[in-house]
Amino acid sequence: MGEYLIRRTIQAIVTLFLVTVFTFALIHLAPGGPTQVMIAPGVSPEAFEVQKRNLGLDQPVHIQYLQWMGRLLQGDLGTTFKNNLPVGDILWPTVGNTLVLMIAAWLVTLIIALPWGIYNSTKVYGISDQFASIVSYLGFAMPTFWFGIILQQIFAMNLKWLPLSDMWTYGKQGDIGDLVMHLIMPVTVLSLGFLASYVKYSRASMLEVLDQDYIRTARAKGVKESRVVFRHALRNALIPIVTILGLDLPILVSGAALTESVFNWPGMGRLFVSMANAREYSVLMAIVLVTSVFVILGNLLADILYAVVDPRVQLGRKGGGSK
């Protein structure tokens, strides 16, 4: 296990390095730059040059990358071009806000999707199963921003039951009740998107397992159906779902930029959009970095969870023995 972790960590560092090189190059290749966004069109070229020099943008790209890397290794994410603010100060609060939203959406999804999928696997093509199909297609097909706007129109504008947008009402920061009210609509929108796949996956996974010989054996022995489903089938059916959970973890972090924009949620997705418009390279790089770290962690976590859910899975090369 220890060796396995070390190996994965080294892999992760190499991957991260490649991701940063690639993203840095891409971001700098994009036309325009921070100076163009900062200065109105028509201002004299000298003003641009002064700005570029002040910002260190007159250096070749590889030098800029090395400078950025050097600072990063000292734990410094850099500062914004336009107002010299530490990137961390801008980024970390949004990471927290995004996590609040995403974890809520994820929990709601799991609480609904897993039982529903399991139930449907026992009554294939029943009414509930058909209904789940419709919900899934809706979830896949409906643009999230559109669904969000519809919800806002009904529940915030017409009925006035729920707040329109934001994370807190001004002056109520820290009030959990207020937060929950603000969470309802964005969580609904996000959950519908997640729900589609999770109901399908858990149903398919259960069906596959329920078809196995040992289940038939259990049934033949006269084990109660509920015990067959929850005791014998569920644990095995969870394995592929754990994989998907791990793979979806980065979505939690990178956030749903559109949903965050519609509901004005102060998260990382919204930050990414506005910083991309402003060509704030250092913030963009930091977001990419954070997201990459979570992708790698998500994969690692999924691997480790396998071992927990399925004792047959062994981590590490030499991990033969202890059964």
Binding site: P31, G32, G33, Q36, V37, M38, I39, A40, P41, G42, V43, S44, P45, E46, A47, V50, Q51, N54, T79, K82, N83, N84, L85, D89, I90, P93, T94, S133, Y137, L138, F140, A141, M142, W146, Q152, A156, M157, K160, P163, L164, S165, D166, M167, Y170, E260, S261, V262, N264, P266, R270, L271, V273, S274, R279
Partner: protein, 581 residues
């Protein structure tokens, strides 16, 4: 089998959704059309009625309360030396006092909230401006605002190493002298009448920033750190939650004789303009300075919201390029004045205002804002929509229809050009299509090209490399001087005459225009310029446009303090006198 079934179900759902959306849209526009005129008139009357009754002798303004404002981008800094974006500028309105303010007519004035005590005294030769300061104006930390602050700010802006976006407004200054603590003298190198507008800046505190090397000023916490940013205006800075909101509180030690009435100002940042409008309609927000044109109708329907439809101080135009290098034949297609006039006649500008701008626009025939003192009015040539006249002028100019292609030709060169605009600007996208259709009618082929804004500025605008563009100028101050846009002294890449336009007579007139300070004389010169330029057409001037201002029912102001859309930041005109209930 199963997969085709899935696909058809998917398709069905899509159709249903789209169908539903269309139906919803159709309903909405129907009801708008039937009620729009009524609604706008009730809006207007309820506005003036409400404010004048509360603003008159009977109703006293209410003291205290919170106003919530909306924007769609965060501020950069409130250090006035570096402010270059609308959101930061908005914040500065509340936090910083100006040396001089503009009155409703756009003239430089010493208001009770200006730092200057009286209007500047201009010497007879027009070279020296003497400015007297109030001797009781103070920074929020109690330090008096003196001549040192004024001189420090101007000298810092003039220093190239600072990188201030305001540098051009002070480039005519030869010398600044401190006469005494409250008197400053500006000496200019040449007579330059628009200089008076340069005096409407906000000073930065010398006692805080004096020791900072200029190159480090932009990175200095002043203007970004809430606690240490010393301000001079009616409100002080209380909070900045990045990407979410700024909060200003009434300055308890405000020096002005007129005190602000509103206690707390919350400046909320939304992800986009449509979200702002929703918040305004719901009552979460009291003031939206820029309502997207597409939302005008929705806002009009709400009788509680005052919608101010007058366009702002900016105009859109189609610029011709006169540099032959940009054309495959080596010769600009727009060299002849008759051709340019024909294009002006071929364009349905009224139609653009009605259909694309939803009425928030005013036709322009010269580069001066309609209704301002420089506006030549009827003296400028007006090009009504007249495709027949356009065809006739083109024929007179030697353009012959190629029956095979349906495009006009002259010496074997087809009349076909590329019209660029910035991608994502839906107004320009729609207007470029109107232009394309209008010109196709008279036999000119237009290829429209939407380009990413910053790439466009870098690769096309700054070097002057394009055939034709759709762009707008926004006029930061009401002075009509536009030499740097139209004079051949200002070719790219150093100047803003991006279309390489040359007109010697105009070159001379632009110069004369700022070389006299006498108002009557200047008026005459600019009218003359308007007359010539509207005939010669370096641009087709399209329209003055803008975003409507939306104000919620809680906000009140007397009539003389109502927002003034024609001024920059005029949507907060006299905000010190506004009140909420």
């Amino acid at each position: 089998m199963r997969s085709t079934w899935k696909k058809s179900l998917l398709l069905l759902i899509c159709v249903l959704l789209v169908g539903g959306m269309l139906a919803a849209c159709a309903n909405k526009s129907d009801s708008n059309n039937s009620g729009s005129t009524n609604n706008s008139s009730t809006n207007n009357s309820s506005d003036t009625g409400g404010s004048s009754s509360s603003g008159g002798d009977s109703g006293d303004p209410v003291d205290g309360g919170t106003i919530t404002l909306a924007t769609f981008s965060d501020i950069v800094t409130v250090n006035p030396i570096f402010v270059n974006d609308t959101s930061s500028g908005d914040a500065v309105v509340f936090l910083m006092a100006k040396l001089y303010d503009l009155n409703r007519e756009g003239l430089v004035t010493a208001e009770p909230w200006s730092i200057a005590a009286e209007e500047p005294i201009i010497s007879d030769d027009g070279l020296t401006y003497t400015v007297k300061l109030k001797n009781y104006a103070k920074w929020s930390d109690g330090t008096p605002i003196t001549a040192d602050d004024i001189i420090f700010t101007v000298e810092t802006i003039m220093n190239e190493d600072t990188g201030s976006p305001l540098i051009a407004s002070f480039d005519k200054i030869e010398k600044i002298t401190k006469i005494d603590d409250y008197t400053v003298e500006f000496k200019l190198s040449d007579v330059y009448a628009p200089f008076i507008y340069s005096l409407t800046f906000e000073p930065a505190p010398a006692h805080v920033l004096k020791g900072v090397p200029v190159k480090e000023l932009q990175g200095h916490p002043y203007g970004k750190d809430v606690k240490t940013t010393v301000t001079s205006g009616p409100w002080v800075w209380k909070e900045w939650t990045q990407g979410q909101q700024l909060v200003f509180e009434r300055n308890p030690n405000y020096w002005g004789e007129v005190k602000p009435k509103i206690q707390t100002v919350v400046y909320k940042i939304y992800a986009d303009q449509n979200t702002e409008v929703q918040a305004l309609l719901r009552g979460d927000v009291d003031h939206v300075s820029a309502i997207p044109v597409t939302a005008n109708d929705a806002v009009k329907q709400d009788p509680n919201i005052t919608l101010i439809l007058e366009p702002g101080p900016q105009y859109e135009f189609m610029s011709f390029n006169f540099d032959g290098k940009n054309f495959p034949s080596g010769k600009s297609l727009f060299e002849s004045q008759k051709t340019r006039q024909a294009i002006a006649y071929a364009l349905d500008r009224e139609g653009m205002i009605e259909n694309v701008l939803k009425g928030t626009g005013i036709l322009m025939n010269s580069p001066f804002l309609p209704g301002t003192w420089a506006d030549p009015g009827d003296k400028a040539t007006h090009y009504e929509y007249n495709p027949e006249k356009a065809k006739q002028l083109l024929a007179e100019d030697g353009w012959v229809m190629n029956e095979k292609t349906g495009i006009l030709e002259k010496d074997g060169v087809p009349f076909s050009f590329e019209l660029q605009y910035n991608a994502g600007n839906s107004r320009r996208e729609q207007v470029s299509q109107v232009i394309q259709n209008n010109l196709a009618e008279v036999g000119i082929e237009v290829k429209t090209a939407g380009i990413d804004f910053s790439a466009w500025v870098e690769q096309n605008l700054n070097p002057g490399k394009y055939q034709a563009i759709l762009l707008a100028w926004s006029l930061g101050n009401p002075d009509p001087d536009a030499e740097s846009i139209f004079s051949s002294k200002y070719f790219p890449p150093d100047g803003q005459n991006m279309g390489w336009y040359v007109n010697k007579e105009l070159d001379k007139l632009w110069e004369e225009g700022y070389k006299v300070t006498d108002q009557a004389k200047r008026t005459e010169i600019y009218h003359k310029i308007g007359e010539i330029i509207s005939e010669d057409l370096p641009y087709v001037f399209l329209y003055r446009y803008g975003n409507a201002i939306g104000i919620g029912p809680r906000v009140h102001y007397a009539e003389e303090d109502a927002p003034e859309p024609s001024l920059a930041y005029g949507y907060f005109f006299h905000v010190i006198n506004w009140w909420v209930e």
